[in-house]
């Protein structure tokens, strides 16, 4: 004896936020029912486990039917099958595209390929996020990537328009797309202290300053790729370290400005040439795709770590970089003013900012 068929269809599609979240999290129906029972919804509504099971299955089915539409959020608004109020639609989309920071950290900068997808069970094990949820998040990244990859114009705006995401989420996706496209390495042990939001901030800075779109929105090219010309130009900055006069001049300018303003002045002065070489070398190498991938690891190794071993605070780093940048402007023979400005080194500070003590 069994219920063979059990459906409920409302003229306005009923969707329970809590169940939706459980579904998104990849819970099986039975697990979801358990969670709901523990949540106390039964006592609250005088329901039985049976009722809860029926409701959960029904909701899961509804979500599965909606999933197709959620892949193209714009369709959700003009499809006829489900009558869903606009605020609910927004909620559905936002939650569907939401992701776990711990998950994104695992795949950030990786190629969004089948190979990566195959490894998701490891990610699932490691993060404790269900495989189902991992797959959804991964597929979301890939879908967004595929759509905006070919689009012209500002990346964040494209994502927001095509996927109807709220601003912050669109920015996060822009970061994910940007990282995936440039394949920045983020998984090395030395980078593990950085959160997704740290990287997302950097991505935002890079998108705003280092891409073609950054200088000219009307350009044919897009936000996802770094501006090749700019990278080429960065090579010219080498003069800052190869020309001994310039290097000394730069050092004295920076040191003059810093004197008395920090507790680690001596270390700054002692390390100036090392640090400057490190930074400029990273910049000069960026024309090679391979070195672009190692951008963050290089920054950490060549700049952050020396600072850290000298016990600089993030305020110190900030101060140092401000003067480091500004002083270059005053250098007599330094003519790469525009390029220099665009490097926007302050982004680096952020790498330091979050967990200065690690």
């Amino acid at each position: 004896m069994s219920v063979e068929l059990d459906v409920f269809v409302g003229n306005t599609t009923i969707m329970d936020k809590e169940v939706y979240q459980l579904w998104l999290n990849g819970y099986t129906v039975n697990d979801a029912v358990k969670v709901r029972i523990e949540g106390g919804v039964m006592e609250e509504c005088e329901a039985s486990a049976e009722v809860l099971l029926s409701d959960t299955m029904d909701q899961y089915r509804t979500f599965q039917m909606c999933e197709r539409l959620l892949h193209h959020p714009a369709k959700l608004a003009n499809q006829l099958l489900f009558q869903i109020p606009p605020d609910r639609q927004a909620m559905l989309i936002e939650r569907y595209y939401a992701f776990d920071d711990s998950f994104v950290r695992e795949v950030l900068g990786k190629k969004l390929s089948k190979g990566t997808k195959k490894d998701l069970d490891d990610v699932s094990l490691k993060t404790g996020i269900t495989l189902k949820s991992c797959r959804r998040q991964f597929d979301n990244f890939k879908r967004v990537f595929k759509v905006v990859e070919e689009l012209k114009g500002p990346l964040v705006e494209n994502i927001r328009q095509h996927f109807l995401l709220p601003d912050q989420l669109a920015r996060d996706y822009a970061a994910i797309v940007f990282f995936a496209n440039n394949r920045f390495e983020t998984g090395k042990k030395k980078l593990l202290y950085l959160t997704f939001q740290d990287f997302a901030f950097c991505a935002g800075q890079l998108i705003n300053n280092w891409t073609v779109g950054a200088v000219d929105n009307m350009m044919e090219d897009m936000d996802v790729d770094l501006d090749k010309e700019f990278l080429q130009d960065l090579k010219d900055l080498k003069i800052l370290i190869t020309d001994k006069d310039l290097l000394d001049q730069h050092k004295s300018l920076v040191c003059t400005a810093l004197r008395g303003k920090t507790n680690v002045f001596n270390e700054m002065e002692a390390n100036f040439k090392n640090l400057s070489r490190g930074l400029v070398n990273i910049a000069a190498k960026l024309i090679n795709a391979k070195d672009v991938r190692d951008f963050f690891i290089d920054l950490v190794e060549k700049f952050i770590e020396p600072c850290r071993s000298d016990k600089w605070t993030s305020i110190d780093v900030n101060l140092y970089l401000t003067h480091y940048t500004n002083s270059a402007h005053i250098l007599d023979t330094f003519k790469y003013y525009a390029v220099w400005t665009r490097t926007h080194l302050h982004a680096v500070v952020h790498l330091m900012n979050i967990r200065p003590d690690v």
């Binding site: 004896m1 069994s2 219920v3 063979e4 068929l5 059990d6 459906v7 409920f8 269809v9 409302g10 003229n11 306005t12 599609t13 009923i14 509504c45 005088e46 329901a47 039985s48 049976e50 009722v51 809860l52 029926s54 409701d55 299955m57 029904d58 089915r61 509804t62 599965q64 039917m65 369709k75 003009n78 499809q79 006829l80 099958l81 489900f82 009558q83 109020p85 606009p86 605020d87 609910r88």
Partner: protein, 999 residues
């Protein structure tokens, strides 16, 4: 050549990929009407084609316009092989044929395929130019308006109610034609869909002709059904009530609330059109007859009581109405009889004095006798000429005659709330008809102004008049106890009233109502032909009797005395019969308070047994007390005196129970708080009875904040918010154990219904406080060992602050005072207005703020989550009710009557049976909404799913489902928006009179 149909194909969107290579589609469209077909150009390589075609023009007879649907087929062009069909759209152009309905169909309509479901949408424009045809012998009936609504539609007023119209057409079922063996399932499904569209059109046209003959211009309460008889054919039949309607063109600018004494004025009141239907009732326990057809009557008892005008309940009745009603009634006695005769003769001229209406213009329904019903078992393989309608016509005629004679036996000349239904299993078909015997005023039935004469009819107090017995006291067709009416104390009323109609708006009701269901399952032996039919015929009377007993017990258990909207459905399967009776129980103030239930054991000597009995008795008494509190039934205590000699209770014989009335002294011991009524006695003479009583008591109680009814309105709730949620829920239960006893089956069936209800309450918990209205259950036995239950209803939330007007006493316990000052003030203001005009509302507004059944904070916040359903672009509301709370229907755009078949050969891939049906129902909703939107409407009222035939074959990974839905497409305007445009302080009054107000 009296009509020109024009269609233009604008564009498509979301088309499926038909060419795997390019991931695109080369779509074009065929537009077909009758035998003429036009094609658009191919729009290559696009999933969103822009055809922007010319106007395709069809010059056709208006007869064809009525019968044929416009058929639009979207295809994928293929150079080398046959073009692939993407899907079809059928457009019923009937709404365009009536000047007052829609003028153009324009919008995005889903492209539907019977195998794949919805596959994208198409944007079309359809118009009709009609030329006047004055030919008297015409075959068309363009211009006759059709309404599914079973009351006078809200923006019309009735000039005349002509009466019953019916028609039936038969055709061969394409599924059973020889060609079906060689054609694809898709072709077969499409042939069937198209045929039913054609037959519905033809049926409507023929009914329209009858209406024109009668001099009417509209059909109200149009009920169309189809019977899949199998080999013998496919029957589409319809019944309705022919009326002459007049559109109310202006908004009620100067209207005042109609006073009780002059209903005729009300009629002309523009405000009337939107009043909630009022309805009268009657009761009847079925008296089984031996024959194949049989019917039921209602028994009643009566009591009189003394007046004590200070009682709450009495104060609810407008004093003036009562007074004048009484005195005028006496004077008018003889005159009235005369008039009744007149009316009667007017009605008798008609073949069938039947009305499918369940709610009536004020003053139309005078008295209600009780439920009348008739059933008959027929064998489909005995039809001599299956392609002709004669045999079926004769069958229905037989049943209708039966109904008519039952009504007569109840002293009534008319049957209201009339409906017909069938249940088919293999070659056996049960035909059923039921209605409520009633006496109607002649006002709407005769030509010419008879106003003066009619005056006296109106004096009957509207709050209780319909309860007064129509039959002769000394010549009652069944044993009954009569009392003087508890409202006016001038006329006799029965002790219990069963009816198939809605609760009349003007009725005086104490407390709230609730859904009452009786469920029954009876096994039967597998049999063939005649033997099978006889076996079923023999079972039916018992089934009906037991259903009735159950209803009666449950009614008493809730401390109520009347049932409205009673619908008894009997479904036949190969090895069992299912009976489901649903109704809304209420406490009619005019009727005596019901006695309690007393159980007696058979072997009083056994002490433990006696203890057991007394335990049960205690439980029953507790339940009654609890229910009275729950439903706020606090009739004033009155001293009663039984008039005359009480007629002995009907001795209803049954295996299980025996009911008889005991003198009050005997019961007084047990009958704690139920007045000195005779208790309803249940005798426990075997274990079955014990279980039945047990089942009675274990009925699931409704969660706090929920109410339910199967009628249009819920007594005691007036202040609806605009949040409504229509839904359909279907469950199929498999009985794996073939050796179930009747009791076991009963329990399973009852649990199935109860669990379904529980799920509904849980699903809709965010709408609390809310009422599930128009809960319509349909049961079926799709195959052996399967029970299918389908429910369609609407959940409507209400503001609880004002909801319990009568709850002075019981409300106290649940009071919650967490109401902000502003809210309180608002309530009081509104209430002050209400009480002056609404006979149902308490005169003491101050009591209201206390009457919250639920913790305030929770329900508030939950509901606010849902308040989105406002005025966003393409929202189409659907409701089985005839009104939309907080809104005014300003225009009816035509009837929606759609029939779909869906089939799959990949059941597992589509999510199993549940996934398949879930998608299909969602698709049906989507198509209904799209067609309504294309007509320019924003809601469907009186929506119903009349058929949901589901068949599966999981082994073959196949399933098929047929769904038939109908309703009225309308345009509504929010009351709040109306207020902005029309400057009248009227709205508050109108609102309360509607019972449908949102705040």
């Amino acid at each position: 050549m009296p009509g020109k149909l024009k269609a233009k194909i604008v564009a498509g969107r979301h088309l499926p990929v038909m060419d795997r290579a390019s991931d695109l589609t080369d779509a074009f469209v065929e537009v077909k009407f009758g035998n003429t077909t036009f094609k658009t150009d191919v729009y290559p390589k696009s999933l969103n084609p822009q055809w922007n075609s010319e106007w395709f023009k069809f010059e056709v007879d208006d007869e064809d316009l009525q019968d044929e649907p416009l058929q639009i087929t979207v295809l994928d062009h293929d150079t080398y092989s046959a073009n692939d069909a993407i899907g079809k759209v059928y457009i019923d152009i009937d709404p365009l044929l009536c000047s007052e309905a829609a003028t153009v169909i324009s919008g995005w309509l889903p492209i539907y395929d019977t195998i794949h479901g919805i596959r994208g949408e198409i944007n079309v424009l359809v118009k009709v130019d009609l030329f006047n045809d004055l030919n008297r012998f015409r075959q068309s009936s363009c211009g006759v308006k059709f309404f599914c609504t079973t009351s006078i539609p809200r923006c019309y007023r009735a000039i005349m109610v002509h009466g019953f119209v019916e028609e039936l057409v038969v055709n061969e079922d394409p599924e059973y034609q020889w060609i079906d063996r060689i054609r694809t399932p898709r072709a077969s499904n499409e042939a069937r869909q198209r045929l039913i569209f054609l037959m519905s059109g033809e049926l409507q046209r023929k009914i329209g002709l009858k209406v024109l003959e009668m001099g009417g211009n509209a059909v109200v309460g149009y009920l169309q059904c189809f019977d899949l008889e199998g080999e013998s054919g496919l029957v589409v039949r319809a019944i309705g009530t022919a009326c002459t309607l007049e559109k109310i063109s202006t908004f009620p600018a100067t209207a005042t609330y109609p006073s009780n004494s002059s209903p005729s004025k009300d009629m002309k009141e523009p405000g009337f059109g939107e009043e909630t239907p009022g309805v009268p009732l009657s009761s009847g326990p079925p008296t089984p007859l031996r024959a194949q057809t049989f019917s039921s009557f209602s028994p009643s008892k009566s009591y009189s009581r003394q007046s004590s005008s200070s009682d709450t309940e009495l104060s609810l009745t407008p004093k003036t109405g009562m007074g004048s009603g009484g005195s005028a009634g006496k004077e008018a006695g003889p005159l009235k009889a005369l008039l009744r005769q007149q009316t009667q003769s007017a009605l008798e001229q008609r073949e069938y004095p039947f009305f499918t209406l369940t709610a009536f213009p004020p003053g139309f329904l005078l008295h209600v006798g009780g439920v009348v019903s008739a059933r008959s078992v027929k064998l489909l393989d005995r039809i001599h000429n299956p392609d002709e309608p004669e045999t079926r016509d004769a069958w229905w005629e037989e049943i209708r005659q039966e109904i008519k004679s039952h009504a007569k036996a109840l002293g009534c000349h008319a049957v209201v709330g009339y409906s017909e239904s069938t249940s088919i299993c293999e070659e056996v078909c049960i035909l059923s008809a039921s209605g409520t015997a009633a006496i109607l005023s002649s006002r709407f039935m005769q030509d010419g102004p008879l106003d003066a004469e009619h005056r006296f009819e109106e004096v009957v107090s509207p709050g209780c008049g319909f309860c007064h017995i129509p039959y002769d006291e000394l010549n009652i067709p069944f044993p009954a106890q009569l009392t003087y009416c508890y409202c006016c104390r001038h006329y006799k009323v029965p002790d219990v009233l069963f009816t198939t109609i809605d609760l009349p708006t003007e009725a005086n009701v104490t407390g709230k109502g609730c859904l009452i269901q009786a469920r029954l399952c009876r096994t039967k032996k597998k049999a063939q032909g005649e033997g099978n039919a006889t076996a079923i015929s023999n079972l039916l009377p018992f089934l009906e009797y037991e259903l009735h007993t159950q209803l009666m017990n449950k009614l008493k258990l809730r401390g109520m005395n009347a049932l409205f909207g009673l619908r008894i459905q009997i479904s036949v399967g190969e090895t069992m019969l299912l009976g489901l009776a649903s109704a809304t129980g209420v406490y009619l103030t005019a009727l005596p308070s019901p006695g309690g239930i007393q159980i007696t054991g058979k072997t009083p000597s056994d002490i433990t047994y006696e203890q057991h009995i007394s335990n049960m008795q205690k439980k029953i008494n507790d339940t009654i007390t609890k229910n009275k509190e729950l439903y706020e039934i606090n009739p004033p205590e009155v001293v009663e005196e039984i008039i005359g000699s009480p007629i002995p209770e009907p001795c209803q014989r049954s295996r299980l129970f025996r009911s008889h009335s005991e003198s009050s002294d005997e019961v007084s011991e047990l009958d704690l708080s139920h007045g000195k009524k005779d208790a309803f006695v249940l005798e426990i003479d075997d274990t079955d009875a014990v279980e039945d009583i047990h089942a009675l008591l274990t009925d699931f109680s409704i969660p706090a904040g929920f109410y339910s009814c199967n009628t249009e309105i819920m007594p005691g709730i007036q202040n609806w918010t605009s949040a409504i949620q229509m839904f359909t829920s279907v469950r199929v239960f498999r009985l794996n154990n073939a050796n179930l006893t009747n009791q076991g089956l009963n329990k399973i069936f009852s649990d199935l219904c109860e669990n379904l209800l529980k799920s509904l309450y849980f699903k809709l918990r965010s709408m609390v406080p809310c009422c599930l209205c128009h809960l319509n259950f349909t049961v079926a036995i799709p195959e052996d060992e399967l029970i299918q239950v389908a429910v369609t209803a609407v959940a409507m939330s209400f503001d609880k602050e004002q909801s319990l007007e009568n709850g002075k006493q019981s409300g106290e316990k649940t009071l919650i005072k967490a109401i902000t000052d502003e809210q309180l003030q608002f309530n009081l203001e509104l209430n002050a207005e209400t009480s002056s005009s609404n006979p149902l509302s308490s005169p003491k507004g101050i009591t209201m703020e206390k009457a919250s059944p639920l913790p305030e904070g929770r329900s508030r916040s939950l509901r606010s989550n849902r308040s989105y359903s406002g005025s966003s672009v393409a929202v189409v509301k659907m409701t089985p009710l005839s009104f939309i709370p907080g809104a005014k229907i300003i225009r009816y755009l035509g009837i929606i009557n759609m029939f779909f078949i869906r089939e799959t050969t990949s059941l597992r891939e589509e999510g199993g049976v549940s996934g398949f049906l879930h998608t299909f129902i969602a698709e049906v909703f989507a198509m209904v909404r799209a067609h309504v939107a294309a007509l320019g409407g924003n809601a469907v009222v009186s929506y119903s799913m009349k058929e949901c035939v589901f068949m599966e074959n999981p082994n073959k990974n196949q399933a098929q489902c047929l769904i038939n839905v109908s309703g009225d497409a309308v345009i509504f305007v929010r009351e709040s928006e109306l207020e902005l445009t029309s400057v009248q302080p009227q709205s508050a009054t109108t609102q309360t009179s509607n019972c449908g107000e949102g705040t």
